[in-house]
């Protein structure tokens, strides 16, 4: 779960990492005073705000109100700006990069740092980025912070501020279950302070059970996405016209790939996870109907449940409504022939394998055009 910049900075502050003075508003009228010259920053969960005009300076309250008015409501790469962060402008002497994320290969956290920050970190050459895995059995120790400070080329005062920030950022990641915590730029101001200029924090959504405080946070979800989330079904909107339901990420992707081979294109897909629970299949079917695709392709590889039981769930979901679109259904497992017959009798198009199902769905989609 991605957090807005202002929320991320609140958390940095909680862990003792310096951030500029500031406050967040959703209406220009709420700006009463400002802490000196400020930046007005659009709060959207996407990069490239600056280039899109979502970050602007202001020197007076009136100016801040004017700039905020312009930014609030602005569409930034598809995201509508609902809040702006009004923040004291930093006197920047140097911009650096500091982040902690998950390192799959090392099965650990990874401390990343660069003496060059502020710009798109992906364009910084590799030898300018320190990647220091945090050994999980050792945990963070000050020597890691010293490596970072030394790599950044910092001395004395600034070095010791960075060592402390590294420690606090690690504590934040561990205590808040962040899978990403990034400060970019990490600013050295002209008076020698090290301050977080911008911040990205992503909380591990699998760990929300121990962080009730994040559950209530706003997320930009459509009503269908919201429903899918509650049902623990992965829901993704694409450009084609075929609605795909499958169980398991790999099988779902393989279904899309196969569909593509036969010239079909998915418009939305639902991944149930590795389950063939008839209730979940039924919920997914209902959700899919709401998404209004032109063709539905159901591909369930059965593990625990008998195919006829799964088919019964599908029929219950669809039965009552006349949705009037072709449904290609493939359910693999015990009693699959019985299931096929049931689906066929209900007017669906049964398929026996992944290829056949993909081919049939692609053909139907070309018919409906």
């Amino acid at each position: 779960m991605k957090l807005y910049e202002y929320k991320a900075k609140e958390i940095l502050k909680k862990y003792g990492i310096p951030v500029p003075d500031g406050f967040v508003v959703s209406s220009p009228d709420r700006i009463k005073t400002i802490p000196g010259p400020v930046m007005v920053k659009a709060q959207v969960l996407i990069g490239g705000r600056g280039k899109a005009g979502g970050i602007k300076p202001a020197n007076t309250v009136d100016e801040a109100k004017k700039v905020a008015s312009a930014i609030l409501g602005m569409d930034i790469r598809g995201y509508k700006t609902q809040d702006v962060l009004i923040e004291r402008r930093l006197d920047i002497a140097k911009e650096m990069y500091l982040g902690i994320t998950v390192d799959r290969s090392n099965r650990s956290l990874l401390l990343m740092a660069s003496p060059s920050g502020g710009v798109d970190i992906e364009s910084v050459p590799e030898d300018k980025i320190l990647m220091a895995p945090v050994d999980p059995l050792i945990g963070y120790q000050p020597y890691l912070g010293r490596r970072v400070a030394s790599f950044m080329g910092l001395q004395k005062e600034q070095a010791s501020q960075v060592v402390s920030i590294c420690h606090r950022l690690y504590q934040l990641v561990m205590s808040e279950d962040a899978e990403l915590a990034e400060i970019n730029p990490l600013v050295v101001t002209k008076d020698g302070k090290v301050v977080a200029g911008d911040a990205k924090i992503t909380i591990d959504s699998d760990a929300l059970f121990r962080h009730n405080e994040y559950e209530r946070l706003h997320e930009d979800l459509t009503p269908l996405e919201e429903k899918a989330k509650r049902l623990d079904i992965a829901f993704v909107q694409l450009d084609g016209n075929i609605g795909v339901i499958a169980n398991g990420a790999g099988l779902t992707m393989a279904t899309l790939d196969s569909l593509n081979m036969y010239g079909g294109e998915a418009g939305v897909f639902l991944d149930l996870g590795g389950t063939d629970d008839p209730e979940k299949v039924k919920s997914a079917m209902l959700l899919m109907v709401e998404a209004k695709p032109k063709v539905i392709l159901l591909n369930i590889f059965g593990g625990i449940t008998k195919c006829d039981t799964v088919a019964k769930g599908v029929l219950e979901a669809i039965g009552a409504r006349r949705i009037g679109i072709p449904i290609v259904a493939r359910i693999k497992g015990v009693n699959e022939d019985l299931a096929s017959t049931m689906l066929k009798d209900a007017g669906m198009i049964p398929a026996h394998g992944l290829s056949e199902a993909a081919e049939l769905a692609a053909r139907e989609s070309q018919k409906v055009g």
């Binding site: 998950v102 799959r104 290969s105 099965r107 650990s108 956290l109 992906e122 050994d135 999980p136 059995l137 990641v173 561990m174 279950d177 899978e179 591990d204 699998d206 760990a207 059970f209 121990r210 992965a234 993704v236 694409l238 499958a246 169980n247 398991g248 990420a249 790999g250 099988l251 779902t252 992707m253 393989a254 899309l256 790939d257 196969s258 569909l259 593509n260 081979m261 991944d271 996870g273 590795g274 590889f301 059965g302 593990g303 625990i304 693999k332 497992g333 015990v334 394998g353 992944l354 290829s355 993909a358």
Partner: protein, 285 residues
């Protein structure tokens, strides 16, 4: 032979009194697995379908000699259960549980590796050596004993492929579903190493998906260390970039980890890559 689990494997089911635990304890037994014990705190002394239930893993291991465990415990308690198994001396821990927080996975896997314990998963379907033992939730009906080793990040997609093999009378030595979470106890390379050393295994099937760089690393390893023929399938060629595909493992980030890069790396290591999953049996010799 076979790898990781075989006829000597004695399984402890952690969370045996839950629906999944009870169901799969039976399914594992039907597969021929020696399911010797279960745990469920507070229910020690009872039985689930003839399997004795203990309060603690320490007691279960002490009284039954269990050497592998299958963890069905819900995510908030899963790390505790897996570490309990490790501390009790279990050698192979198969974690079925999904949605395990990544920091929990990092800690428990680091502990396991420091002690030489094999963790498979989390969020995996488990492992099956047909004719010998199964630890996990893979459906029994899809397997056939044979000489092909299968290693896969995926669950149901693996079933699809193994099923297609079995329908074509191509049997398996061991099938390992390693799970697709960002941090897993066992990666492709760990299993490839075992398959290369296993006498029963003559060919290898690798099933990957977009995200991460494990397939690229596997290709590098195959080039250097694997002499047996390898066939692969990579899911997600047509997946939209930047979209989360249900697995954390399926995030495409920074141009790395695309299907193209994986397929290219594997092909340059001499691996035959199938276009659709059901083509895999055709590419095996």
């Amino acid at each position: 032979m076979a790898v990781i689990v075989d006829e000597k494997t004695k399984v402890l089911i952690q969370g045996i009194t839950g629906y999944q635990g009870t169901y799969h304890a039976s399914a594992m037994r039907e597969f021929g697995t020696k399911v010797v014990a279960g745990t469920s705190p507070g229910k020690g002394g009872s039985k689930v379908k003839d399997v004795p239930v203990f309060d603690t893993a320490m007691e279960a291991v002490g009284k039954t000699g269990a050497n592998a465990s299958c963890v069905f415990v819900p995510a908030p308690y899963c790390k505790d259960a897996a570490l309990e198994a490790i501390d009790a001396g279990i050698e192979t821990v198969v974690i079925i549980t999904e949605h395990l927080p990544v920091l929990d996975a990092i800690h428990l896997i680091a502990v396991a590796r420091s002690k030489g314990v094999t963790v498979i998963g989390p969020n995996c379907p488990g492992i099956a050596s047909p004719g010998k033992a199964k630890v996990g939730i893979l459906p029994n009906m899809i397997f056939k004993k044979g000489t092909v080793g299968v290693v896969s990040k995926s669950g149901t997609l693996t079933y699809e492929i193994v099923n297609a093999m079995t329908e074509r009378k191509v049997g398996q030595s061991t099938c390992v579903g390693i799970g697709g979470d960002r941090v897993s106890g066992t990666y492709f390379i760990d299993v490839l190493k075992k398959f290369e050393a296993d006498k029963q295994t003559k060919q290898i099937v690798l099933v990957g998906e977009i995200g991460g760089t494990a397939e690229e690393e596997a290709a590098e390893y195959i080039k250097k260390h694997v002499s047996k023929p390898v066939v692969a399938y990579i899911a997600g060629r047509t997946a939209p970039p930047g979209k989360r595909m249900g697995h954390a493992g399926a995030i495409i980030a920074r141009g790395r980890g695309t299907a193209e890069s994986k397929i290219k790396a594997l092909e340059s290591a001499g691996v035959k890559v199938a276009k659709i999953p059901t083509d895999v049996p055709d590419l095996l010799q």
